[in-house]
Amino acid sequence: METYEAVLEALGDRTRRQIVHRLRSGPLSVGELAAALPVSRPAVSQHLSVLRRSGLVAYEEAGTRNVYRLDPAGIGELRTWLDGFWDAALDRYAQQVRDDTGSRAPRPPRD
């Protein structure tokens, strides 16, 4: 699966979006995330696994406190997809205009 598709799958779940939102303020441990969300700690761990595989979240061992933080690489993949979406659509539009212009018979010059 392409990386950006993994990002979209990860963000398709509301709890995972909440986790990503919480991490905007800074790195948090699993316990801190579970305390802030209406889901169990094992559920949070499961969601964090999905988010790590998608590249949205990274894990850091920091002494006695192991934390998760946001990783810009995942959002970059999302942006890449959005770029491609509009590139493809506008390429088709431009081709249509070229075909439309080319199909119009040139006016004969006035005498």
């Binding site: 963000l11 909440q18 770029d83 509009w86 493809a88 390429d91 539009y93 431009a94």
Partner: protein, 154 residues
Amino acid sequence: MPANLTSIEPVRKTVTVPAAPPRAFELFTRHIHEWWPLATHSVGIEQAAGVAFGEGPGGQIVETLTDGTTSVWGTVTDWEPPHRVAFTWHAGTPAAEATRVEVTFTEDEPGRTVVLLVHSGWQHRPDAASAREGYHEGWDQVIGRYAELAAAAR
């Protein structure tokens, strides 16, 4: 917090076409069904039958599926032929906080138009009440709808 850590900056795309703005505008809007790549860019994918661009403010951009059902992608907010059109973009989901697309048509030499498309509204947009709780519903809705659109477009 780094500005672009989790927000998506507006997408800006430019294409130059061999037509004057009135025709470029008309082909983009009224004739969208002649070029929009439904096979890859739609809610229905293999069931997508067509798309229509409603004209004027409030006009809807609507996909029709082979079973006759429809899916609204967005609603026109600004209709200024031949130079500008803007619309919300929410691809079939309720449009509480859609993203926004603006397209401008500028003649750079006779018979040639530069078309600029800006897709914005992806950035984090806090609202006062939820900001106190640290959770931003608007962002959640935007990203959620984007994920649904993108998943449907695969």
